[in-house]
């Protein structure tokens, strides 16, 4: 009985030690900072402000915002984006108009203005920063896939 208890204790100790070791080697976004300390924050990256439209990575990707949107108010009272991108404003602003799909309610009815479900622009549309991705991204768009398949089949389509 005594021997058995000692054995269990030894196994437990080994398991805990092993877990601790494993924990140290796991790669996390925290880096090597101990739990009780705060890591040095990264420098806030600059927002891309080129005003050049960027290509969509896939057909239904919400277009990216190529400019700064600091302090843009989008709430019950006002929508700063629509002061340029609304149907009425684009003649003055020459900005791309909000897509007509955004006027369609969930019952497939086209309304006179942007529907509430599409009102909060930056739920889908985001500005870009010059930050390096934290995790490598292996995304390949459909054109590259088709190109690859074509090459695999020896140039015949």
């Amino acid at each position: 009985m005594k021997r058995q208890t000692a054995l269990i204790a030894a196994i437990l100790a080994a398991a805990i030690g092993g877990a601790a070791l494993a924990q140290q080697s796991v790669a996390t976004l925290r880096g090597g900072t101990p739990l009780a300390d705060n890591a040095d924050p990264m420098v806030i990256p600059k927002v891309v402000n080129t005003d050049l439209r960027q290509v969509r990575n896939y057909p239904e990707q919400p277009p990216l915002i190529p400019h700064k949107i600091d302090g843009y108010q989008i709430d019950l009272n006002a929508n700063k984006c629509l002061t340029c991108h609304s149907r009425e404003a684009i003649e003055i602003s020459q900005a791309p108009m909000v897509s007509i799909t955004h006027f369609m309610s969930r019952d497939n009815q086209f309304l006179a203005s942007v529907t509430p479900r599409r009102y909060f622009c930056n739920q889908c549309h985001v500005a870009q920063t010059e930050a390096r991705p934290l995790v490598e991204n292996g995304f390949v768009d459909i054109d590259s896939v088709l190109e690859y398949v074509k090459n695999q089949q020896g140039g015949s389509d």
């Binding site: 402000n49 400019h67 302090g71 709430d75 009272n77 006002a78 002061t83």
Partner: protein, 210 residues
């Protein structure tokens, strides 16, 4: 009453019996300095952010909203205080605005916007007053710092440069036409178009009722 006025007028007209001309002129000069200085000092005292945010109406509503904006915190640390934008800097206009502001004292005393709800309800009207004022004086308070002549549009983003070239430099629009709600939150603009044209609304609702 008439007797009192007549006696006062008589005293003012008659030459002084007890005081010398030197005393009266010097005394008048010194008292002039004191009163004029006092008046201006008091006026300037009401022209500070500390004074504006002394009341909770300003401190808890608009001042809080100003703080995250670029006019309060920014890279160079130059900032605008309340009177920089809301009170004309030139003396005559300043006095005119200060006299208008007596209405605001009335509002303070009778608690026109002494709760958040009252403030939100009145916010559109208050904002429209400010917008109308800045439209009328060609955004004078903006231009006290942001002069169009010193604006180097090559250092702006393409979008900003184009907009300024088309609308600002041609005088077609003034700063406030586009830059509403940069220092405070915007009021409920859904109501604004309705308030702007009550007769159009009446006409439309008449049509809809048919």
């Amino acid at each position: 009453m008439l007797g009192f006025l007549r006696r006062t007028w008589g005293a003012v007209r008659r030459p002084s019996v007890h005081y010398s001309l030197g005393f009266l002129t010097m005394g008048g000069f010194v008292m002039g300095v004191v009163f004029w200085g006092g008046f201006n000092t008091a006026l300037e005292l009401t022209n500070t952010e500390t004074f504006c945010t002394g009341c909770h109406e300003m401190r808890d509503n608009v001042f809080v909203e100003l703080q995250p904006t670029i006019h309060y915190s920014n890279r160079s640390g130059v900032r605008a205080t309340c009177p920089d934008c809301h009170v004309p800097h030139e003396w005559t206009n300043k006095i005119a605005r200060k006299m208008q502001a007596s209405k605001e004292v009335w509002g303070k005393i009778f608690g026109t916007i002494n709760t958040r709800e009252k403030f939100l309800e009145k916010r559109l009207e208050l904002a429209q007053h400010e917008w109308a004022r800045l439209e009328a004086n060609d955004s004078l308070e903006c231009r006290n710092c942001h002069s169009a002549e010193s604006m180097d549009i090559t250092r702006q983003s393409t979008r900003a440069a184009e907009a300024h070239e088309r609308f600002l430099f041609t005088g077609e629009k003034t700063c406030i036409s586009c830059h509403k709600g940069i220092a405070h939150q915007l009021p409920d603009l859904g109501q604004a178009s309705l308030m702007a044209a009550p007769e159009a609304v009446a006409e439309l609702s008449g049509y809809l009722d048919q």
